[in-house]
Every structure is written in structure tokens, then in C-alpha cells.
Symmetry: C2
Subunit: 228 residues, 2 copies
């Protein structure tokens, strides 16, 4: 039996952790990839490492890349505030959008996938909660896959790469229900944009708000540790 | 009159320096972008800075990104030798190919272009000398552009981004002739894969061999400083 390998983009959050569990259930050997990109919520790197160990991935890598050089987002630029409860709704594209972030992360995943001879990259993007992010749209992901299948040595040699986004059309509640069915322990994940050093969540930012509402919708007890 | 802005991928070498001169001639305000990616030939970063100053670009950025984490190339992996004269011909794809490098570099350029509201990215890839590199093919560049025009906030707002590769179909000799007509001083550029600390070229690697033959074909005196 040949081994299927997949690179999984992991932020240590609820979504990408669910994605690792999905890929494992599908029989992939999983290689998780995180980025130290100057993000405010740096405890996510600790969470990603904890997730990799707990779920038993083959290898976990952290690639350093300073996106603060580029700026343009509340997540990487300290001069832009992270919006709190109720501030998100109006803007068409949230200030937490990081320019070309998914493209940059998927490109580096593509490089690692080529070295590993992996046949898949999994990304936990979601078009329901993050409909304002251009790089979470299905047509974007299809275009990335087409490009990826022209970009690499593997593609020249006839090996195909597939970009999977299994959460794309699920609500947060549905993601949590799916993860529970795969025995994902969400207490080890961190979603908050401004968690404290111990990974405790603020409970107020967009990401906390969506996560909280997800547990309510799924009728699952919220295991998140909040600051207050 | 509105200002046209372009991000130019710059390695400090002959090709990308010519590309900056072309973009300037076309009326673009140029923003040059280089990468500190763990490459062996680190003097290229000094060369890129010198080129940016000499040609008077608006801004020059160096983004750090450790592609050695990924491995798989003679340019970033010390366990793989850089081939010397005559060793290049046989392999379909050279060992100097870095997995997904152009995709990663173009993606980061895309992020900066979005912040700058630039309408173009220029890349000095060439399909003549580097026909073995999958990510130098025209169909790859077209696919990247299609993806880029779905990836960003700019694309949602209707602004188009174009990827230009003006050297794609030129021989090295033709590139040098074009650069000379734009008054490019090639003595400040470094192309060698294993130049010494002062930027002097080995004269033996693929890159040196192609550059040397280019000056001969163009019937232009070679200003390159060689170690021997």
C-alpha cells in the first residue's frame, strides 16, 4: 500500500485542528505547517505545536516569515486596532485580513509538499464566517490549485496536487460537531486574536465571538479558557 | 496623472536588474523586493541593494524567509552540490531548482503590491536558458496571474494586477543588448551561484556560464569580476 501524504496549514486554532483530524481519518500521513509571521497572537504557535503532538502528526514545521515588513493588517500592524464585539459587521473586508496571507502560506506549503512528494494540501478556510476574505473563496482555491499544478517538478512529472478545504461550506457549529465526531479535544486549541501568554481568550474579538457562537450552535460545552 | 506602481523581484543579478530598467522606462514607480532565504550566494543581497540605489527605485525591501527549512535544492541545501561546467545538460530539471520558489516569491510580492496598490509585478524569468524550471513557463505565469486576480482585496474591488515577465523569450545575449540600450551597468550585478564575499564570480557554475556566453553573443565586453 502506498502512503498518501498531506501538508496541513495549522494555526493551532479550532478550524485547522479539525482539518488535521479529517485528513488523518482520510488516511493521510499529516505534516503540519505553521508560520511565525509577526502575528499578535503568538500563543497560536504554542497551540499549533501542542496540537501536532496531541494528534500525532508525522512532522510539524514552523516557518519564520516577517509579514510585518508588508503591513496592511490589524493582525500584523500594531497601528491598526483589532475590532471588538460588534465592530466587524460593516466593513466589506475586515481589517484583520492580511494581504495575500493564504496565497503566501499555500505557496510555502506547496514547496514543502513538493519535497515530501505529498499529493494534497489541506487548508481550514471557511466561506461562511469569513465571507469578506477574498482568499477564502472557492474560485480562489480552484485557481491556486490550477497554478500549483503548473508550478512544480511534480506537475511536470505528471503527479497531481489537490488543495482540500473541507470546512469551506460548514458553519462553525457544524465544524465543531464534525470535530467532536473525530474526537478532537478543542481545549488545546486557541482561536483568539489577542489571547494572553497562557493562551486564554479575550472573549471579545471576532474570532472569539464566532467560536463561542459555534459551541452554542453545536450544543457542545465550550472548553475555551477565557481571561475573565 | 496617476502614478503606476510596480513591485519588481530583484536578485541583484543581470536579469532582474534589466527588468527594473525596463519597468522604469515604461513609467512605473519601482519597488524592488529581495529575499534572504538561506541561499548560498548571499552576496546577491548586497548586489540587490546596490542595484536599488544605483537605479533609484522608490523603496527596496528584503524579506527573510528560511527556505532551508524545506530543503530540496542545491541552492539551499548544503548536502547537494552546485553543478559545475558541463554537469547541467542531462537532468531534466536542474538540482539548482528551488521547490516552489517563484510561487513563494510572487506571493509575497503580491502581498506588498496589495499594500502599495501597485498594478504590476515584474519578474525576470526566462524560458530560454531555464527551460527546465517548471515555474518559468508562460502557462505557469498566466495561471499565477489568474489566481492573483482572485486572491486580493484589490481584485474584489475591481483593480487588476498584471504579472510581467519581459525577458521570458529573450536569449541572454538579447537581454544584455536590451539592458545596454537602457544604460544598465552590469558591473554592479552578481549572477554567480557561489560568488565570494566581494561578489566575484566563480566563472564555472551554470549561472556564470550562461552569463559569460551572453556577453559573447551580445558582443559586449564582460564587466564581471571573476575569482581567477
Amino acid at each position: 500500500m502506498t502512503t498518501k501524504k498531506a501538508v496541513i496549514l495549522s494555526s493551532g486554532g479550532l478550524d485547522s485542528t479539525t482539518v488535521i483530524a479529517i485528513a488523518q481519518r482520510q488516511g493521510y500521513q499529516c505534516y503540519s505547517l505553521s508560520f511565525d509571521y509577526g502575528q499578535r497572537h503568538r500563543v497560536e504557535l504554542d497551540a499549533a505545536k501542542r496540537v501536532a503532538e496531541t494528534l500525532g502528526v508525522e512532522e510539524h514545521k514552523v516557518v519564520s516569515l516577517d509579514l510585518r515588513m508588508i503591513g496592511g493588517s490589524a493582525l500584523t500592524d500594531n497601528s491598526i486596532d483589532v475590532p471588538e464585539l460588534g465592530e466587524m459587521g460593516d466593513a466589506k473586508i475586515p481589517v484583520t485580513y492580511v494581504p495575500a496571507r493564504n496565497t503566501i502560506f499555500l505557496s510555502i506549503a506547496l514547496g514543502w509538499a513538493e519535497v515530501l512528494e505529498a499529493s494534497a494540501i489541506f487548508i481550514g478556510v471557511n466561506a461562511v464566517d469569513y465571507s469578506g476574505y477574498p482568499d477564502c473563496r472557492p474560485e480562489y482555491l480552484e485557481a491556486f490549485q490550477s497554478m500549483a499544478n503548473l508550478a512544480t517538478k511534480a506537475s511536470v512529472e505528471g503527479r497531481e496536487l489537490t488543495i482540500y478545504s473541507p470546512l469551506l461550506k460548514l458553519s462553525k457549529g457544524e465544524i465543531i460537531q464534525l470535530g467532536r465526531s473525530l474526537n478532537v479535544d478543542y481545549s488545546i486549541t486557541v482561536s483568539c486574536y489577542q489571547a494572553d501568554d497562557q493562551g486564554r481568550a479575550c472573549g471579545k474579538c471576532d474570532s472569539c465571538r464566532l467560536r463561542k457562537a459555534g459551541f452554542e450552535a453545536a450544543e457542545v460545552a465550550d472548553p475555551t479558557q477565557y481571561i475573565n
